[in-house]
Amino acid sequence: MKESVIMIDGNEATASVAHRLSEVIAIYPITPSSGMGEFSDEWSAKGKKNLWGTTPLVIEMQSEGGAAGAVHGALQTGALTTTFTASQGLLLMIPNMYKIAGELTSTVFHVAARAIAAHALSIYGDHQDVMAVRQTGWALLSSGSVQEAHDFAAIAQAATLKARVPFIHFFDGFRTSHEVNKIFQLTDEELRSLVDDDLVRAHRARALSPEHPVLRGSAQNPDVYFQMREAVNPYYTAVPGITQEAMDKFAQVTGRHYNLFDYFGHPEAERVVVVMGSGGETVVETVKYLAAKGEKVGAVLVRLYRPFSLENFNKALPKSVKSIAVLDRTKEPGASGEPLYLDIVNALVEGNRPGIKTIGGRYGLSSKEFTPAMVKAVLDELGKLEPKTHFTVGINDDVAHTSLDFDPAFMIEPEGVVSCVFFGLGADGTVGANKNSIKIIGEETSNFAQGYFYYDSKKSGTVTMSHLRFGPQPIRAPYLIELNQANFVACHQFSFLERVNMLKYAKTGATFLLNSLYGPDEVWDNLPVEVQKDIIEKKLKFYVINGYEVAEKTGMGGRMNTIMQTAFFAISGILPREAAIAEIKHSIEKTYGKRGEAVIKKNFEAVDATIANLHEIKVPAGITSKTKRRQSVPNEAPEFVRNVLGEIIGANGDNIPVSAFPVDGTFPTGTTQWEKRNIALEIPVWDENICIQCGKCVMVCPHAVIRHKVYDEKLLAGAPETFKHMTSKFKEFSQGFAYTVQVAPEDCTSCTLCVEVCPVKDKTQVGRKAINMAPQPALRETEARNWDFFMEIPDLDRKLINPSTIKNSQLLRPLFEFSGACAGCGETPYVKLVSQLFGDRAIIANATGCSSIYGGNLPTTPWAVNADGRGPAWSNSLFEDNAEFGLGMRLTVDKQNEYARELLVSFEKELGKELVNEILNADQSNETGIGAQRDRVAQLKNNLAKSSDTRAKDLVSLVDSLVKKSVWIIGGDGWAYDIGYGGLDHVLASGRNVNILVLDTEVYSNTGGQASKSTPRAAVAKFAMGGKGLPKKDLGLIAMSYGYVYVARVAMGANDQQTLRALLEAESYDGPSLIIAYSPCIAHGYDLARSLDQAKLAVQSGHWPMYRYDPRLAEQGQNPLIIESKEPSIPISQYAYNETRYKMLTQLDEARAEELMHAAQHDAKSRWTLYQQMAAMHYGNGNGKKE
């Protein structure tokens, strides 16, 4: 039996069946379903066969809509075809889903069910997406655990082949898709016995073929459409029976028996909960617990939701039932109840079950915790005379008062379960180590085990939480380890102690393992008061290890994974120490075998060094510490930041009541300034003695933590003693002006790009620059004070700044600061520059992706405001529609401007001809003109403030549109090249004045590095594991073909001045502009501190030619294309092989790597030649003049 028991997550469990049962798989990445596509792609890349001995063909499409179309085509031509998706992806498939169902086509789509973007996007799990397709004619089969996801993937395939009705097999995103649990794996033989080959052949026989041609997909008229829509009814009637038959067959083969509706609990239950998905496990375990105590409670788990079998439901429901609570993991505003609730109400009516009180409620949206205590609250509510219906559980709804109270102290954790919680930093490998540990426990011991992992939403300095449970019985607890329940708590980063309350998870007598910079004799006094108190009061066993030192000595760098894993096993005693170490080493060999002996060796050394450095601390009797845990946000933060965002930062978001939130998803900007993350071990230090005031460090900083200011030297009065300054060298601001470069010490991410870009070299020691890195802790307090003082110094008036030089442009205040982007992010410097140049009048449409996450993921936003309260107004609509979304913004601006001008003319008498004319004819081509227009608009508002004329009121409400607005459409290459390309093309073609900034990382960065059409030839990416065989799409060239689109291809690291010029020109062009920005990314696989050099190599090699195409030049009779990089002077390989994404192909298949690199070289050459020819073309009348 052992060999069929494995520890895997729900995505892998599902994909392992789907891949074996498919011939064609069309995919598109979307969280949390991407894993299924990635596994399938990997297995096909390795040549893994399906059940019939051939490797499934996996293809990545440009969108989920595209995937559904490809699936439809593949199905129509007879292939066993599948796809994986979630959320918006499923919504994009709806049109095809109607077709596929209408044509009675056998297929299974596997869905990691996820929330839908409404007031906000959420990547987490609920049933909003699957509920949005319940009307499409697909069967909906719900699995509630990793094992079920594995099993139901097979049952769904068996059933669809027979029923001809397509199936959605869904399970809860993250909670099931990402939970690691111990499952019994289906063997090929078992699958073979479930899937009938005759039905497979029948599926093929129905396919389109010119050998036996038919037509499918006709257009019909009122006379027959209706009848044919009804013709499918018998097939739907048969689905429940066929599915149950497949479940019964499955039980014969595997011993695991499922029903369309499964009942659990007291045989004479009076109160019953109906639920589906992972929440069902919690409900079932809770009712079992209560039933064992004599309570007449039960649960009905819905497996097959569509077609809904009234008969089977009523059979499953005990006759004794008096009241039912139906739990929906979805929200349908305005409905008379959520969908499952309405189905049950109807089932009782049609099933003639009168007298049963039925209530419905919502729970668990966006993976909101759903615990036994909440189930208990629902059951208790059912016991009331007048139970609340349309309730919510799990939140505090103090607005509509829908929520049920629950007692968090109610827990049902069975005896023998060991619960462990680990806090780590994203970069330290904690989660990876824990995945490994739980695998060892689950696969190498008789224990059942479960692992679930939680991440915050930052891309740098992420705090991760690992929740591991194991014990002698299967773990059915799809919720986080609860407060005071952990037997083991580990803190892998000492600095977390000052901001995270982790010991609230520890139960009395639990073990606490701390990775400490301090030795066993010093550690106690360096713990915050609250930590000391918890250790003493909860009587914790306290262990420390200086993992940092062990990592340093063994070459592990910042990776704590192996060290802390070893310490965990050594202390916990799950396995005898020697056996545990042997297992860890075995797993290291398995994990890193392909990486070579050096990696294995350093990990082995880390294991060996850990035990010697692990110490149990004798806990002192009293509190000795003088330091307290830090507040999430300072007291001086605005009230909303303190009461809402601060609570979210402090991991207390679950307790915020409904009333505290905005009703429409609207948030104040400029809030990252209050979230001091202190993630940098080193920060830049300015050397004012050698600085040349070029501003390059300010320009390149991805997080806007390094800034410079020119200011009246008199303002230095009252400066902190350590505040550095020098005389200004700006020619416009010299006499009486001082200059300072200042770093925000608590917001820096240590990326070192500022040091890299600094052109100054100390003449006495060329390795030193005008910016050098130094340890943060010693500088934190003083530099924080200096930063505060620096920020109090007023910014220079924008009207005085000519932004056409780097140094001057960087005097403009960034209105995008301290984002959660990766350290060294290649996108954010462009975004920040846009915010500096145009932010105070910018409206931004942001495509879903990295930039929408670091730009708009709670708790805080980096989009900020200036001293006047102006700043970018930002919104994210969807992934696929961003260009259109931005165009809509432009249309409003244009329309309102037009209407305001019309109104303005009619108020000439009241306002005076001069003011009206000045406003109508204002030159707003520079900051001076824009400033003057703002003054005029203010005067107009003042003049009309007291007017009761409705048209005057209208004019006042619209008059801001007379100040020039800058519409920016921002997104990544996944959007611009793939999913949003159709819209982008249309918006470019519209001729409207929008500015499109494509942050081109050449890969889907946010979902983890899947290939896009921007991915260059020869690079490896997910879904292009064997290296992308075709060249990068030339988006700029396509845009240039319109002739009236401003196009620029820029690379800040290679030429910052060209980037600045392109942005200024693009914005000044009264038409569509497209800027394609070279954006180094963590997915390229090199040290981003070197990204400036790498950008230069990309340009020098011809991979990234830089140019500007300005249609205004053509109007002047000149060639609009100006190529701004030189002829390629180095081979592509010299640029490419600095990056792992290219280099790894040489390790997979050297011949293919060579062949593709050769082709990439040819691409660069032919692209260059083409551009050269275009740039040499003759425009105008031959004299450089307009014809």
Binding site: E38, Y455, K458, G557, R595, K761, S1005, G1009
Partner: protein
């Protein structure tokens, strides 16, 4: 007919011109051209200790960076155990060269420390290399490391590698050793079947405008022959190992001088790297043959070591007395 054949590391070679470790062996067709042009053996490009370790650590670093940190992107590059960091590529090349060539193929390892990576010596043997050349490129920068420490480390490394393989082992050494004869003797005693003189140290330069240290590869010239020529002459007959001369072999005269000094083989690379053409091999061998015929030499063996220190009339010509003589011969111009 002149007999150009020689022996080196127990291998019978048709002439004393061997292709030195260089990128030329990275391409099978290039190696085949070298063989066709006449080289008698080929030393492969080196498998570097640092390369093995660096690639291994680098791949692990970048594939694991950012992993399990962000819920939407649990990794950023595909893995699946498909991308193997190992000397496979190198070993495959040995296999490929062995298949394509009739002449002996000598593998090359470059490293200085003992450790797991020396297993690769065995792997190179397993895939069919006829011999192994160990290139010990070590630059001592730590003032606390004594010359004895460093030499001991290198001698131990030779012994370790020798114990791991059964094919012959040549050791390529640096000229920066206080007593080359003693060091050579110790290496031979530790198991070196041959010594290759000398490793070329590419010296860094400064870019005065950018204030940066720059590296460039300067190819050798015939002038570089002098140093190994002297030491081959001195060592010939004094150490129990074959001698190979590398650095500065560009012409037939260089070959002839080397053999006369006592080198069983001469190794050529720079001359071929100038233009990537192999025709010079043919020319050098022809000219060597012609010269020997013109000067009535019947075989390479006949002239081997004929001008080594122990064979010449004035052994001091290779020693300090020679230095004095050269200095004294210099006269200021009027």
């Amino acid at each position: 007919m002149t007999d150009l054949s020689t022996t080196y590391l127990g291998l019978n070679l048709k002439n004393p011109l061997v292709a030195s470790a260089s990128p030329l062996s990275k391409k099978i067709d290039k190696a085949r051209k070298l063989e066709e042009a006449g080289v008698s053996a080929i030393v492969m490009y080196s498998l570097f200790e640092e390369q093995i370790i660096h690639e291994s650590l680098e791949m692990e670093h970048y594939l694991s960076r950012g992993k399990d940190s962000f819920p939407e992107a649990l990794s950023y590059l595909p893995d699946g155990g498909l991308y193997a960091v190992s000397p496979e590529k190198y070993l495959n090349q040995v296999t490929g060269l062995k298949k394509a060539l009739d002449i002996p193929v000598i593998g090359s390892l470059n490293g200085v420390s003992k450790g797991g990576w020396t297993n690769y010596a065995r792997k190179i043997e397993d895939v069919g290399a006829d011999a192994l050349e160990l290139n010990m490129y070590y630059l001592a920068t730590n003032p606390d490391s004594t010359s004895a420490d460093i030499e001991n480390m290198q001698v131990e490394l030779v012994a370790e590698i020798k114990s791991a393989i059964t094919i012959p082992l040549a050791v390529k050494i640096s000229p920066f050793v206080t007593s080359i004869p003693n060091f050579a003797k110790r290496l031979a005693e530790a198991g070196a079947d041959g010594l290759v003189l000398f490793n070329r140290f590419y010296q860094p330069d400064f870019d005065l405008e950018e204030l940066e240290v720059i590296h460039s590869l300067d190819l050798s010239t015939s002038a570089d022959l002098r140093l190994p020529l002297r030491w081959i002459s001195i060592l010939h007959g004094k150490v129990n190992a074959d001698l190979a001369l590398t650095s500065g072999v560009h012409t037939s005269r260089d070959v002839l001088k080397s053999v006369m000094a006592g080198a069983q083989v001469t190794m050529i690379a720079s001359e071929l790297l100038w233009d990537g053409s192999t025709k010079r091999v043919n020319e050098i061998l022809e000219h060597t043959n012609t010269w020997m015929e013109e000067h009535d030499y019947t075989s390479i063996k006949q002239m081997l070591g004929s001008m080594s220190q122990k064979s010449v009339k004035d052994p001091a010509a290779f020693e300090r007395a020679n230095y004095m003589k050269v200095l004294n011969s210099f006269r200021e111009l009027p």
